[in-house]
Symmetry: C3
Subunit: 622 residues, 3 copies
């Protein structure tokens, strides 16, 4: 769980994109720049296995040797995110289908269906072959499995192949079709089935499908990613002692990262602060404008903390944006200093390695407008210059283990799926709810740990938040009951059974509170509180014998308490959230350090890192 | 035509959703709450006929007996809106196709194509079987046929089955392909056909299809609903003396409700004031915000009046929202008092029965966030409490016949289809035009009757409005010419022939006026009138020898009069409309009672019902 | 290249739409109105060839005779834009497919795939038959080939037929699949192909396709239009001495009009100022509101100048809007005087003929709300009256040759495709960039010529603009280097190779400037200049030894100069553009005449035409 090494930098490199004559020079320049790691190979299948069973090892052998002998540690990748074109002749039905019922075609990447057994075997095959060849190569110090699972909406496939696999998955889960009918409540609209193979995927229904049906499809789809990854781990693990990792993305929630990450040694993620601000943030235009050259001051930190949990303490950034990217609606250049700040922030959150994407900007194909450390002509880019300077600073970074945070939030992928299936309001989004609370804690200057819903205990913490949890497990409820400090629940926590029904005794499944009704709110219509702030989007009507800590202006109970448990009956806006967090901290004797605007701090072993996103300043303070 | 019974309340109930052990208690509680009617069975096919030809009557027999013996009158439903999954094995092509050319799948409801002869036979079969078993059961006092025809865009299907049925329909209408070519004007773009079976459905054309083609498809689709319903009526009528009804929806205009309702005894509709405000109203956000807990003050009234016409005087509310629903973009709770107000308003418009949806909130499947009279745990909900109190008020309600209104509007479903086919402006919508005028009349405190275009006479009225009529029939023109009081026509009235051509002598088909050109207007660009108000969206240029009552600032004639006829050359905004209605009332000696804001009155036999939507107040005043 | 005839007017006529008994009267009225030309036949295939091989010539013979003998010059059209329904029985796969992978059906027009060899043969066949019959008819003075190529998104088809044709096209271009892999950079994501027939069309890929792939598809699609047109020209040319033309549309850029126009004698276009403002302009609502009755003051002029280039000096307006149309989101009436103004403007830009669409408004089919010179009942419309008066003015128009403009802009269709493939910012659009500069020149009162990228020289001009050019050809670079006056380049000029790669020495391919990075900008985030104005959307970082004429407030170089070349590193807003143009004019000794608001002038042989769009005034000033 501990950081065992001094912070290191690295880069993503594609020897197959460049003449072999410049590899040695590239490698030397990497080393001179202060980089330690180089990732290769993740899109090279068509150049490794040029025809089925015909391999070209020479170039790859030489590339590894060149890089390794220059002193670089190599991360080898299995190229399964980009099967060659000939693979489709062997498996014509291996493509995923979109929700509109159309096969998605060859010509870019991630063109496979996680459910396709034939392709899964091919992925295992190429993984085994690579593992056999390079598993004991001393230059190969880590293995990346596939690339960015789930990116480009590839977790969910509506293909006939997926439909068949879903039937097997359902049969495993329910045993009998009668059990499925009963647990889904198929009596509701005469949706009873006589056999598993009658069940369609839940797209293109006349109106919304049964939420139990849709939820099981989401679980099934996540499980296919888990199984695909596990099969590759099983193939590779016996062949190498190097560490296994995968590079996740930002705000991809279609599969359970805790499950996928379980057999891996390290979690890594690909951090594109400016691209993500533009293409997947809920922030409004004013916020995006203000942060267009620095990114959201909390988005990276959240994912650092999330993937630290996925990696059970061990995590890297495997791709970091070094300049403008090519894929967002607008692609500005980072402000000077931001590439450094982002990297330092990652280290402050415990990253072992920060790699940049990519070494030299590619002049051809899809990403020719994506900056690298070098320009296409080999000159240093702005980002490259900043990274060169950063490398010289690495010694000043603390190498100590990151201490646990006093505050934690439970993040549950299944809850994301559940509330996508049943939002009850156009604005409701589980990630946004969790992220809102995370941002509130960060504005209070608090370090935060993310916990999986399968946590064995909440550890030595003062505050644990479990907002919006879809369904209790007995285990999680037990962990909470054994926790002697404060747990903050709600809104919507524990509001469904695992079968996606309202619990018999109504939510939230805690004795003494009953959520008797729920209403959702237009954006113009928050529920005003008696003190500063309001509830937005979601508000519950409760009957309770808990202590009412606060009521809304219209007298509805808003915060309730019994023993170590607090319950929030609605979604607080930022003003209410800041006020509530301040009160919780005071009660817990937890020191706050209010961060205004774009300033943030991250507590580290000794002292903290102080950052200001808007001004691009970052400095370590003892 | 008269209200023959004292106002009654009822509820929708699903015995198949609950353990048989609680049915008797449920029934007793319904009676104690003051409910008289209970609707059952409309989604129960999979539990009645568990496999083709294998019936489970026991539970249903016992449910009817339990409810009936408790004193409730039972509305039995034919479950044809939710054919069981095994039906698709018998009729694999029975699913409707969407406009994008995709079959819509099993897994929710209304998964059938009205054109499918095989499924129509199955629907008749189950209807006959149910009728034979329960048609003479004394507890069964009414029959609901299917459920919410047309909901979820199910009237229009673009399937091969629909295509074939369309060919037959066209052949019946035109006799020869030459006649069709001539009447459609297929010479226009070389669209001539040699045979009926060459004709595609009008989706996925390169640019817009021939409007005659598109209009006939809309007529055809409506006729399929009519035929489907008629087949079921024909099957059931000989088997029962109970009344037959269907439950229509709000603002569903894809089929002609007058035609469907013709063989039925009673028209009913499903009234969801908050859901409809959010998901199908043209109102702006400010209006929706102000009315988020009460609904649009005119939307329910309009449908009450519309369905009173569809039911030839006899109508019910079969589902009324008792609390938050689950299906709109935002789902707030009704303000206290609104459930009562909505029910009283329905009675004031002549409803015989108001039923609520549903008895107990379902903890499973699609509507688990839809409130009922009971919570899932069996406790009374807020709505349930309000309905209990309302039941005690029923004695105070007038049971007299509703007097005819002095003012009427002709509502023509075909005009809705025509102007969807040929809007000429993104903003033009027939329903909105009619509803605008209706709202103006309601602001003037006037009771309004809706008339079908097939009305034999306009009755004893002072004002009849016929806005936006697609095409004159000789009959309707004759009725108007025989009417001795004032008829108000335009804009766009009589502007096409039945074949969807411009009439030879140009619109509006009245001697002495010629609409020589039409223009449509950006929202920022109304035509200002000399007095208060303006024309919006639509403005006609006319040459006329009628008296010009009013001109726009730019001198274009706006209101014309000859004898008993007025013609409006454009779509008035609310200011102009209020002014014009005031003038018409004064001329007609019709007493107005101006209603400001969200206040409305409805004239009844003795006195009137005064309501304020925003404050949730409703009281009967002699 | 010279205007050889006095300006003439004409009209589009459909004898097949009207009883033969009125043709003679129609013809006489046309002549009396001052019209010289009449276009017929372009949608009449189903009435000419009623079944395959069965022809009905009588009506067409008589129509031509009637029109010709009345003194009208006839433009005969080949009816290939509307193949009859029986054609689909002969070629069931002739329909184009949309980007969602669906065949687009029969029932409107342009229902054919340009790649379909069978249909191309049919088009040649009917063209030959018509040419044989009427090619030497003295009344036929010109031939229109097909109608509005590319309208309704018909250039791009994703059909299996197109896929096969694309394979052949690629094989012709690359010779070997290895060459294609190399030049596309398919190594990037293992996209290497083993054979041409493995290549899919670039729709429905998982994420964006390779831009080289997408760009070649765009070139291929354009070439199919060129080939289709060429085949018809080849068939017709030997059969007639009359001039051949095609009627292009406004802002259709999916095919290269210079290529299509090469074998034709005259370019014509269909000018719908109000419709185009509403349905294809980038202007904001305030602008559209202000110009809703007059149109964009620069949009028509731009297309006049563009199509003058396409026609190598010879061009007409073949359809001009005479009143409200039926197909835009809003369809207001033109202000009085605008029909005249638009026609005079066309003549001032060198049009030989202006025809109006259409003679008599059709009462049936798709365009029954589209105004004509006559109303459906045969009375003159408003537009008809205005045109009658205009005809009397024609003598006052200058018949002289239009002098070349001092200023020119290179317009390159391939650049439009390239930046649609790779916009790098949601707002980037090549047409908009060129049009922005054009508008700036027009505000300066300058006449502008458009040049194709294949121009042999820039002629006798003072300023030539080449903004946003995708890729240099050696020829164009040579022409520029030989040009002794000023050329203004950038932004984004020369930024890719023909293979869609970043050039080895980085853009813009001019010695002494290197674009080292690019950023794109949110609309709220322009780069402010030190003087008035700012850069928007696009900004380049350059290293250069050119003279820096101007820097932004943040010091980035904005305008660079070396010798005769200027380079702009970003997209100027209107303020910056006006300032820069003023400076360029001053340096070039070019007289400006600043035009405020909606006023515009067009220099002609003697004097100029002064127009004010908003007030509808237009007058010739010596
Ligand atoms: Zn990546
Ligand atoms: Zn319902
Ligand atoms: Zn046209």
């Amino acid at each position: 769980m501990a950081r065992t090494r001094k912070p290191e930098l690295g880069v993503c490199y594609y020897p197959e994109h460049w003449p072999e004559t410049i590899w040695a020079d590239d490698a030397q320049r990497m080393v001179e720049m202060g980089l330690s790691w180089v990732r290769i190979g993740e899109f090279a299948w068509s150049r490794i296995e040029t025809e089925p069973g015909q391999f070209e090892w020479g170039w790859l052998d030489r590339a590894i040797k060149t890089l390794g002998q220059a002193g670089l540690k190599v991360i080898m990748s299995t190229p399964t995110a980009t099967p060659p074109r000939w693979m489709l002749d062997r498996h014509p039905d291996m493509l995923a289908w979109d929700a509109a019922g159309r096969p998605r075609t060859f010509g870019s990447r991630r063109h496979y269906d996680f459910s396709h057994a034939g392709y899964r075997d091919e992925a295992v095959r190429i993984t085994s072959i690579l593992g056999s060849r390079y598993g004991r190569d001393p230059h190969i110090r880590a293995w990346q499995l596939d690339n960015e699972y789930g990116c480009h909406d590839t977790t969910l496939s509506y293909s006939p192949v997926a439909r068949n696999a879903f039937h097997s998955w359902l049969e495993d889960r329910y045993g009998s079709i009668d059990a499925l009918n009963e647990r889904w409540g198929n009596v509701f609209w005469s949706m009873d089935y006589q056999a598993f193979d009658q069940i369609e995927l839940p797209n293109l229904t006349v109106t919304e499908p049964n939420p139990s049906h849709a939820m099981d499809f989401r679980r099934f789809a996540s499980d296919q990613v888990v199984a695909f990854n596990q099969a590759k781990v099983d193939a590779l693990r016996p062949l190498t002692d190097a560490e296994l990792l995968h590079n996740y993305m930002g705000r991809i929630t279609d599969f359970d990262h805790f499950d996928v990450g379980q057999p891996l040694d390290i979690a890594t993620w690909d951090s594109y602060p400016l691209g993500f601000l533009e293409d997947r943030s809920d922030r409004d235009d004013a916020f995006k404008y203000a942060h267009m050259r620095c990114g959201d001051p909390d988005f990276q930190a959240f994912h650092h903390d999330l993937y630290r949990a996925v990696g059970r303490g061990r995590w890297w950034v495997l791709e970091q944006q070094p300049g403008p990217v090519n894929w967002a609606p607008h692609n500005p250049a980072p402000a000077p200093g931001m590439v450094r700040l982002w990297a330092l922030e990652a280290f402050a959150h415990g990253a072992e390695v920060v790699c940049f994407f990519r070494w030299r900007q590619a002049p051809f194909a899809q990403e020719q407008n994506h900056a690298g450390l070098l320009r296409p002509d080999g000159e240093l880019s702005e980002g490259g210059r900043e990274i060169t300077a950063l490398a010289a600073e690495l010694d000043r970074l603390p190498g100590d283990e990151l201490p646990p945070a006093r505050v934690a939030i439970v993040f549950d992928y299944a809850s994301q799926w559940a509330w996508e299936v049943q939002p009850q309001d156009r604005q409701f989004d589980y990630f946004r709810l969790v992220f809102d609370i995370y941002c509130g804690l960060r504005r209070a200057g608090l370090a935060v740990d993310i916990l999986p819903p399968s946590a064995n205990n909440f550890g030595d913490r003062d505050l644990v938040f479990i907002p919006g949890l879809f369904a209790w497990t007995d285990a999680l409820r037990g962990v909470m009951q054994n926790f002697t400090e404060r747990t903050i629940l709600g809104p919507r926590t524990g509001s469904r059974t695992e079968d996606f029904s309202v619990p018999d005794d109504l939510p939230p499944g805690l004795s003494g509170i009953t959520v008797s009704a729920v209403e959702t709110l237009r954006p113009e219509a928050p529920i005003e509180l008696a003190e500063a702030g309001s509830l937005q989007i979601w508000s519950e009507q409760v009957s309770t014998d808990w202590v009412v800590l606060e009521r809304a202006l219209d007298d509805r109970p808003v915060r309730l308490r019994q023993g170590t448990l607090d319950y929030w009956t609605g979604w607080p806006d930022a003003k209410a959230l800041d006020r509530w967090i301040a009160q919780l901290c005071e009660e817990a004797g937890l020191a706050m350090a209010h961060q205004s605007g774009s300033r943030r701090i991250q507590r580290i072993a000794q002292g903290h890192l102080a950052m200001d996103y808007i001004t691009s300043q970052a400095s370590f303070i003892e």
